[in-house]
Subunit: 385 residues, 4 copies
């Protein structure tokens, strides 16, 4: 049973990710036996009344309009950052220096430089027993964790090829309006940073290999979009300055070869994060649109019985599952956030480094940066570091 | 935003369904704007220490070892019954007579007689503004509710055939031990009551038609099982006295024809509640093992473009979905319980009858009873009433 | 390589099945090394000019308008019967008595009595080295034959449950016109004989068990249809006198339990012959709409790696496949007819009994007859013999 | 009905493709009403006895060991070339100059220069009414032709992105022996030419757009393989000098963006030619491992009913299908060859240019050549012409 000893959380930011993180903190101690009990102590947002409304909706005890309060208050143990990427570095570094454990949503930062400053701060803090974690929750689904375990156990032999793509379709309509997310000065990048970060992290996590060089292309398939508010008359259109499709090839250590695509223009795909790994003895396939399943091919099976086995990853033998429902009952998107909360609480209590670390988050940013540099050099191969 | 005006819940029972109902009460007000705020006030169980542990784990404020406390305390508004079926009637009738709203897990009771007493009590209570609801949560998944809406909108025309099955495999091992669930005196029936109840309710709910006669067969495919605790030596085996597979054919009103199977021996199927509806203008398919999807066939499409359309029921246009995550993000098993809590709270606040009512629950029991009677008469057609 | 020693075929009938049988005779010696070379010698049809056209299209050397010519000509070795069911018995018995090997399309006959006469004739002929075979070609797909081999090898342990259905949708439109196939006096039965025969044979073949009693229901969901030719004005409608949906439950020997559905009203299903077999150690699933695949569940796999393995039955290790294309290349519907021709030629050359025999075909008719009798007795259990 | 007027075919080569082409010539006139009747007149191979055996197996009337006989004989109308790529140019050019229509297996040649010579010869011949066709049969499956028709009809709007891959796994075993196909001097290239040619042609055919520049990578994942015949002792290994995986990104005309992968190391994929096309109004998906299906997404559907529609491309409304079986019956790999024979015969009879022309085949070779050049330049973007 979860202890009564509290771990007081302050969450900075209250957009969509705030709802998901709140659900993680709320639910984790109800299903897992945690060594510390998360308390949803403080919610920080710029707008006082909207922050108050979010706090009431999600169950945060207090509110503030200044993130520094989260960093300086003595009764706060963890700072959970769910703001847009541009503010991650300042808050996270301050929190770590103030001795707060930090959970930071992905991508770690908008630039490699900021990410590096965060990773440096995290390394210094670790020496003082302060923990930092990057929020790649797709690692924490039963199917993806099971995939990683199967690879680590040698079930597919030596990894040779990775196929990773993250396909969405919310920009297919060429008249979907312009927004800050489509402007480089505000968003940093487009599909690459938003979706590409996930597949880079997940591919590296599951295979246990890291990308060392990339060859990439960034494309803006719909180059202009109408400015919002122009009802009536011919809408004025402005330029989209980020990619809506990012394609890249990568080489991992040990000669593993990978293909990657991140697209917001993949008509009909709602949330299709697809990963396929080909190994010398087997293969694995995962698709976030069917997140309770993992397909596994085993060349050790009898030749007349080989095929992809569709494992329903809902059995007590599978990662995280025994805490939940009877065998065969589906989990959903939010359970990754519950598992993230659980794993972070356990790492803090145990005094161990949670994964993915800020260094891991930095390395993903470096990969994305190398893709951009490659795209600027006509797609030629470019080292990650 | 959910109001602060409280609706105090007492839950009687704390098995597996207790965890699911608790999650429903906990989470519903965080995502839906409810007119009353559920308070997890009192948890009732026979064993004091285990009940206390469950209450702490799930977040119930107080505990009791006597369900009558839930019925008699003035500060309780709703009695939520998640005990085994044999005790449903007594608790529910007492609660309704005491003016408490009641939510009762399915099946409504172990016998038609008990279910009828409950339905009668619910009807009397309704006259006093007291509400009663049967807990068929599979109705409340976005995909099943969407299916019902499509049928009601005429999207598949006149319903003609229903194929419903609920396949599990937890009894495939012939040496899985004997338990009370396999003994008629304790469990009432086997696959029929446990799984069959779900497919009868769901088929009727989605089609809008009711079964009027059935032709059925009950079978015990593994007739004896080892008594537990006989480690070492040849285990003594006892007779299984309930069905592990129930097969029946049914006629609904308006000439709709249905086939039904409930099995605990369907090797490889973990939780395969499958429903297929053939109509004069289209068809629908649902499978609980892929609960975010609904397949829809539309004969109005161009002949060269017809096929089953795999709708990912995760868009804001779909039932319940807009309260949750961005489009394309999966929900899981437990969300049916959250939606059940939401719908019951709204009905109580609005003073309307929630569905499924106890009368609906009774009718399902009558169907199951008719299947048993038919099985006793060599499978011949038997009226439900 | 196929020998030059000829086996001269006469085919009686030239409807749709005639095209498929012709393709079987034509193609079999080109891919398989046959001990006799089928010669498409004589095509028999009632209408001289249409028969001549078919013979030219399909490559038959001669034509006749009298089936007796096929039976009496000394240069004919095999009579292949693809006429409607009502004429099967007369032709087959005459051919067998004349010493011709016979291949007869399913169903073997329209009545059990005719089928029994045919089986008797076949048994007598067998004593003289004359062979008779019933044309259940769905047995002869690589996936179904592989399924049978897996069951026979014990891969799924003891068979316990069978789910078989054959779903089509060509009668969904209530204004599809009346035809002889919908009139009992001409067609014998509807979905039961046409589609039900296939699933009874295939379920028995793959499991190795035989149905001993059944409980069934026959339904005509659209009871009247417009008479053809009534263009303009309100079309006169006539009664459909055969079933368009047949539902039955069956008990096989050794306690195996089965459910069966044959429907011409399953909206969206074009040719969905689906078979699922649950055994004590595993399970199998087949669907004719994806005929190159077989799903196999193996409880002997590690618990965290279990699931249905989707075997693409296109490898040289699989039945019939090595004669065809490189691994991984799909076969289609017609290949069952090619394999049928091959297997019959080999049996004739070897002097062995081909399967399915006429006795097998008779037994399927007896099952269908028992379903009809059960339906006449309110669905009560009825012995096959 | 197919006419009796003959079209005499000589086929040069008798490997695996010879079997497929023979089946095409044999079967096409039996199902389609052709304006000329193909006669399998002459089979050419180097080894007399093996060629004789193939001719007898497949039904060719005469044999020769000299391809020049096919070119010079007056009674030959069509030369069908199924030899390895290195000999295509010499035979095809000679045949065209001799006034023979030519069908040439893909890839058109091993080098761009040879392909260009062939395309030039074809253009000259066309002026004299002599036809030349490249054998990309995957265009001629009902599903791929239907995909092209849907795109041409505007069903998915403006094409924006293409995802094409052809995944096989026959080289996964690192000890699979060395062969001429893995040596550049004999095979030209590896996965790129063998598998990449198919996806380049199919992507261009279905979209109606042509690749103009590419960025590519060629990789040899298993760089050495054992020499055959070294049974016993440590096998000597030799270098693989062709790619076993080819990855490339491409830009088509009109700004369409594409990703391509050809791999012989995709564990578990037997013949997975997968094509996905994202358009402004819809999307299409095809997979050769399920070749009777096409998935279609239509943004014009009601928002709550959108999803990929799985079209079973087996209805009379679909290309080529009405000549075959009743609706809902599957075709297989070989039917592409039958349709190829039909289309070529019809073009010859009509005096029109069959597609794909040699110019089309040349353009595919140019794309593959540009991929190789890009790979030699660190993956940088390289124009096709």
């Amino acid at each position: 049973m979860t202890t009564e000893k509290p771990l007081r959380i302050a969450m900075v930011g209250h957009g969509c990710m705030g709802a998901a993180h709140s659900q993680g903190w709320r639910v984790a101690p109800r299903f897992f036996d945690l060594p510390l009990r998360p308390e949803m102590a403080l919610l920080v947002g710029r707008d006082a009344s909207r922050t108050e409304a979010s706090a009431q909706q999600w169950g945060w005890a207090e509110v503030s309009t200044d993130w520094r309060e989260a960093v300086t208050r003595e009764d706060i143990d963890v700072v959970d950052i769910v703001t847009p990427g541009a503010s991650h570095a300042e808050i996270a570094v301050a929190a770590l220096e103030a001795g707060k454990h930090v959970l930071c949503e992905k991508p770690l930062a908008n630039t490699v430089e900021e990410a590096r400053a965060m990773a440096d701060a995290a390394e210094r803090a670790a020496g003082r027993g302060v923990r930092a974690m990057t929020g790649f929750t797709y690692r924490r689904l039963p199917a993806t964790t099971h995939a990683r375990n199967l690879v680590a156990d040698g079930a597919i032999g030596t990894v040779r090829q990775v196929r990773a793509r993250y396909l969405q379709d919310w920009l297919v309509d060429a008249d979907a309006p312009m927004s800050w997310r489509l402007q480089q000065e505000h968003a940093g990048s487009g599909a690459l940073g938003d979706l590409g970060a996930h597949i880079v992290d997940l591919a590296q996590y599951v295979t246990g290999h890291h990308l060392t060089e990339v060859s990439g292309t960034l494309q803006t398939l719909v180059p202009t979009r109408p400015l919002p508010g122009n009802d009536g008359g011919a809408a004025e259109r402005a330029s989209v300055t980020v990619d809506d499709a990012a394609l890249f090839t990568g080489r991992f250590d040990d000669g593993v070869l990978g293909t990657f695509e991140a697209s917001r223009m993949a008509t009909g795909s709602k949330n299709a994060l697809q990963l396929e790994i080909s190994g010398s003895l087997g293969a694995l396939r995962f698709d976030l649109e069917n997140l309770n399943y993992l397909d596994f091919y085993d060349t050790a099976a009898a030749p007349d019985r080989q095929g992809f086995t569709r494992i329903m990853v809902t059995e007590p033998e599978h990662p995280y599952v025994s805490a939940w429902w009877p065998a065969g009952h589906s989990l959903g998107y939010e359970h990754g956030f519950v598992h993230q909360a659980k794993d972070l609480v356990e790492a803090i209590a145990a005094g161990t480094q949670p994964a993915p670390s800020f260094a891991d988050g930095l390395q993903v940013q470096e990969v994305l940066g190398a893709v951009s540099r490659s795209a600027d050099k006509a797609g030629s191969w470019t080292p990650v570091r």
